[in-house]
Amino acid sequence: MEIGAIIHSLDPAVAAANPEEAGAKGELDALLYDRRSENGDFVGTAGSGPFRLSAWEAGKSAVFAANEDYREGRPFVDSIEIQMGRSAHDRVLDLELNKADFAQIPAELARQAADRGVRVSASRPNELLALVFLTGRGTTENVRVREAIARSINRAAIVNFILQKEGEPAGGLLPQWSSGTAFLFSTEADARGAKEIWAQVSPSPKLVLGYDSADTLEQSVAERIVVDAKEAGISLVSRAISASEKANAHGGSEGPTPHSEAIHADARLVRLRMPSPLPSVSLAAFIDRLGPLAGINGSPLPKSASPEDVYDSERSIINGGSVVPLVWLPQVYGLSARVRDWKQPAAGEGWPLADVWLDSTTDVH
């Protein structure tokens, strides 16, 4: 049996510069390694997981073969054939034409893929897209500037038009299904309030909102935020952050958190994927990631995992105004008709490709 999969590149340098690539690489590593350390890094040897790398052509393709000796039992499929460098639209097309059995689909393309007959599986929303005011910028030190922009954003429009309703407006740092308290955070736009607050800012600065140049969703959302801001009289422009600029910000390392000073923008969009369904675990990870960017290093971690302590910590960050949650995104996967026993992975879990099997009676090729 073979299973054709998406996937872009296993090149660590490429992965470090592109969040989507980094996510895909992490998912593939999870198929090759048996265990993770406490900090989430993969440990042991590649091939100790359910699959082993059996063929590799840099930048083009790879083949993962089932690990016959895997301690959790041999995977059902014999191998996974991975095509790299496929764009999101190509991936949907591959699924549509039955050239692939599995591919991750951007949330904004989920509806379109389903309309074209692709079998789509969406998780509960577990990835936050947020606007972060970068620390050390004189332009956004004024809390009124941050509040005016935050109030001007029409999250419902982002969900309805850009995401084609495949997501949820976000007011807090955790989704409702995880924390149970997200309803306490407002997601409503307040253009009038934004205008009134902006009028109190003098002199009114010209602001730059950065987005990842390789991320079409971030670009669309950034442009929508600029439109909303302009309606409130706020001077805001969007600007693509290139891979090289991001690489400089990373200082040559592969760490996920760049130095905010190296980004030429006052604010930027950030994607945050929940590492766990547990609210206290995810919130701590988000604080760790956002700290250097937004200057919220001093924000208190939840004192305990109780809903009240998690909410207090979350509220303190939101009230600080440096982080503006925008929308929650689900993980969306396209599957061919012959894939059986697919189980949507929970937040923090890898792709369960060792558990799926292919129904040979369903001829898709």
Binding site: P50, A66, E68, D69, Y70, R71, E72, G73, R74, P75, F76, Q176, W177, S178, S179, G180, T181, F183, L184, P277, L278, P279, S306, P307, E308, Y311, R340, D341, K343, Q344, A346, E349, A354, D355, W357
Partner: protein, 350 residues
Amino acid sequence: MRRLPRLFFLRAIITLAFFAFTAWSSQAQSAAQIPPEWNKALDTLAEKIAATAKPARTFSLDVRNISSLNAGDVTGLRQTLVEDLTGLGFSMTQKLPGEAQLQLTLSESAEDYVWVAEIRHGEAREVVIVSAVRDLVEKAGARKASLTLQRKLVWEQDERILDFALVPDGNAAGASILVVLQPDKIAFYDHRAEAWHLNREIAIPHARPVQRNVGGRIDPQAGTATLVDGVCAGDFQRPETVTCKSVPSAPGADLAMMQGSIVESDAALASTCSGSPLMLSTGSGDWTVRDFIQAYEDKNQREPIAQPIQFPGPILALWPAEDGKTARVVSRNLQTGAYEASIVSVSCGD
């Protein structure tokens, strides 16, 4: 018990209309009795509200439910909270301008119920929150329990456990042997100095690689441990007599295992208290959530007769033990990743 193919764990979210407080509402509605655990959570919530709401002594109360609680539970919770607040010297009124308002939202997180009280007075808003155990709700009938389920952890290990058994030690009177069946071997442990020590392990040869969903079962009386493509046989009370060999798997056996048809989700036990046989059943969640075992008097599982016993992860195997009064349970601890072998027993009384 986890059945394959794995079904997503879907919870219906029931959204109820707002319940406006009226002075006579307690007469109009019959509330379900709520579990003691929820009473404690409400007591705590009432105390937090009291500490936050002062100096107000009167407020209106709205309750909304955005969780999977049913209408009866919502009514019961509301009435209990009103009683708690009244006992603390507060009185409820209809919504009036200038009066403090209490909004109680019954929500839920990935783990538990989350009950949120928002106290509004003018522009000011204070929020207090408590959590309450969620797993109790599926077993509302268990409140009139007459049995108690108990779990005793016998063994845990990182490697997968398919089944286990405790058998008398044929070489040492009064001692026991723990037999642990894994996909690739069967292990025998002696109990010495308050701990189990490996005595002997025997590899199970397979004609082909071990499948991911391999299952197996020990029959101590028959002296066999059976897998799809392997079998061990001998006198389990004398491990030195046990041998294992590969056997051809029956056609379609793999598929049957994948589809869960040979996986059982309940175990019938002999009469313990009431004279009626007892059925133990697992929850219906997927492999990513905690599980429980519940006791029923009939196979239709209409009436739970005990408080459920919780497990820190999915239950992978549930078999009646040889004595007919206990059950062997293999589960996986989601926090540690370890496989756990436990004995579940039943005792009479609450």
